[in-house]
Every structure is written in structure tokens, then in C-alpha cells.
Symmetry: C2
Subunit: 212 residues, 2 copies
């Protein structure tokens, strides 16, 4: 019997996604199963994509577009290149790259990808070769992006549970503590499973006082 | 010692706000204190109000604008006219008008306001007289709308707890059961109080399959 897996959709650009993937990483050590999937904020927020997907990140040349496009496409493709080295290697690489960018405040660039590959203990020769097979990586990324669209992912992290229920889960805080991670995850599940049919809980953000 | 009060911001147009005010109504009978406050979806979503509030519902003549504007302004003003008859009368009127529109699917119009006033057992003469003092009602509504803006209300219902924490709480389901209401409210509180710093839990909505 295969284990029920929760998918976590993320973009390396997003600090909330970083905290979500860290949470999933802690929970994995506890026996929960998570699969890493990609959602592109640049594509999701693109003005041509309001109704359907007209503009695909995977159709863009490397090195073009705004800063976020230029940072996220190579990071996604690199992560797909790691997949052939197995699930554990993919988690190590993903967390290392997230931490480089959001914890250690490094640019999300080629140097960060190279360092993350080393920290993850990848077979660097195989990784370099896999990155060169770019068409296949783009196809693999496109499959993630297409599924994310159909699920209705609009931000990261979004967790898609084995029963198909899915929600954006935005955390201001980071945990690497197993007990705490379990509690946060249980709360997320309680919201999704509540007979209230909770569609949204979203905090209001204070605005400057009005001239009245 | 005055009791700690949670404010619930709502618009009569909104079915989620209806369920939120019903929830608060059940919890009141259980000893929780809630105050009814107004937020206008028409004003909040107005294209001139993206940064600041340039367009106020309270500056609009009655009977102008789109259907939602024409329905919501008289309903808000009527609710302010009830306030002088006390808190219990205001709750009865508010729930009666919400139910007329969202449970019994009646238009949110003068007939519905009149019926709600009767069902709420208002002093109808005093209500009619209070409605005629329109300038004061508009000023009272404007105070609600201004505070809602400053709190950062963007949708209804938004509950603002005594400690200032506030979130939009969108429920698909209605309860009038005390035990259930307590559980749903406790879950809302658990999300806001979690050390995770939960900013948002928002369900993804499935989209049609893409041509790939």
C-alpha cells in the first residue's frame, strides 16, 4: 500500500514557501509524507494569465524578464535536474537553496545553486549533465505549473492533502521543532476539516489613519 | 469593569457576513460580547479607493449607483437608525434583514427593511423618525467605514478581537447550534493565537483543465 502524500507547492522566491517547506521537512522526519511541487509566482501573477495560462514561465529564455523571472526559472530547472538523484537529495537541495536565499539573504543565482548542490551532497557531475538536458527539465516544470493552475494554487506554500483539499498556508514564523511543527500542521488540518466549511481566515493589516 | 467586546464588521450584501453575524448571535447567548459594525464592500472594492478612500458610500445620494450600492446604503442607514432603540433591537433587526435577503432570498429593499423592523419588534414610529435624520445616520455609518479602513478590513465578516487582532473569517456553512458555534469560534481563535503567526489560510479553488 502506498502512503498518502501531501503535495507542497512552492516558489523559491517566497519566504512563506520557505517556512512551509521547512515545516514539511520537520514533519517528514516524523513520518508524514510530502512531495515537493513547483508553482511560479511570476507566472501566477502575470497580467496575461488572469483567466487562463497564456504566458508560461517554461516558454521564456533564461536571462530574460524581470529580476524575479530571472531568479526563479534557473532555480526551478535546477531542482528538476536533482530529481533523478532521488527524493532525499531533492529535499536537501531544496532546503539548502531556500536557506541560502531567505535565511542567509544570498541572491538566488548560479552561485547559490552551486553551493546548495554541494551542501546537498549531490553527484555534481551528474547534476551538471542533467541541467544541460534543459528541454526535459522544462517539460517536467511545466507539468508542475499546469497541475498547480488546475488545483487553483494562487500563492505559496499551498499544501494539497491526499483527499484533494488544498489551501494556501501563510506563516510569519519558522519552526524546526518537531512538537511545534505537529501542532501547526494539526491546526491547518483542523481548519480544513472543520464542518464550518472554512474557506478563508485572513488577517487584516492596519492602514494609516484617514483624514476624516 | 466593562466586558471585552469583539467587533464584527459586515455588509448586508454578503452571505458570509450573514453566517458570521449568526455565529456571533449564537455566541452572545453564551456570554460572548460582540458589537455590530459596518464595512461596505462597494466602497472597499471601489476602483478609486485602491490606496486611500477617495470614494465614500456616505457621500452618495440614495437611489444612485449600481444595484449593490442602491441596496446597501439604505440598509446600512436603517441599521444606524435602529441603534437608538438599543443593542438588542439592533441585533434583532440586523439578523432579520440578513435572513430576509440571504435565507429567504428577498431583495434587499425598502419592503425587506420594513418587514425586518416589524419582526424585530421596533418602535416603528421612532424608527421612521430616526431614518429621516439622515445626516446623523450618514455620519455614524462613516465612522464605522473609516474605522474599518484603518483596521484593514477588506471583506466580511471580519472579527476584531479585544486585543486588536483581526481577520476575515469566511464560512461556507451556517450554524445556530451553541456547541458547534463555540467550536468554530475556538478554532478561529486558535489560528489567530498560534505561535506560528498564521497570516492566511485560504482554500484553493479548482479551475478547468488546461489545454497543455
Amino acid at each position: 500500500m502506498s502512503k498518502a502524500v501531501t503535495e507542497v507547492y512552492f516558489d523559491f522566491l517566497c519566504p512563506y514557501a520557505w517556512r512551509g517547506v521547512e515545516l514539511a521537512g520537520v514533519l517528514r522526519q516524523d513520518g508524514e509524507a510530502f512531495a515537493l511541487r513547483h508553482f511560479s509566482l511570476v507566472q501566477g501573477n502575470h497580467k496575461e494569465n488572469e483567466k487562463d495560462v497564456q504566458w508560461w514561465l517554461t516558454d521564456q529564455p533564461l536571462g530574460e524578464g524581470d529580476r524575479f523571472q530571472q531568479q526563479s526559472l534557473p532555480a526551478f530547472l535546477a531542482a528538476h535536474a536533482v530529481r533523478e538523484q532521488g527524493e532525499e537529495a531533492t529535499w536537501r537541495f531544496t532546503l539548502a537553496l531556500f536557506r541560502a536565499h531567505h535565511e542567509h539573504k544570498k541572491p538566488l543565482d548560479e552561485a547559490a545553486i552551486g553551493e546548495a548542490a554541494q551542501q546537498a551532497g549531490l553527484d555534481l557531475g551528474a547534476f551538471t549533465a542533467a541541467r544541460e538536458a534543459e528541454a526535459g527539465l522544462r517539460a517536467s516544470l511545466r507539468a508542475d505549473l499546469a497541475e498547480a493552475h488546475e488545483i487553483g494554487v494562487f500563492g505559496t506554500p499551498t499544501f494539497v492533502r491526499p483527499d484533494g483539499s488544498a489551501a494556501y498556508f501563510r506563516l510569519e514564523n519558522l519552526t524546526r521543532d518537531a512538537q511545534e511543527a505537529r501542532e501547526w500542521w494539526k491546526l491547518y488540518g483542523a481548519v480544513l476539516d472543520s464542518p464550518a466549511g472554512i474557506a478563508t481566515i485572513k488577517r487584516a493589516k492596519r492602514r494609516p489613519a484617514l483624514k476624516r
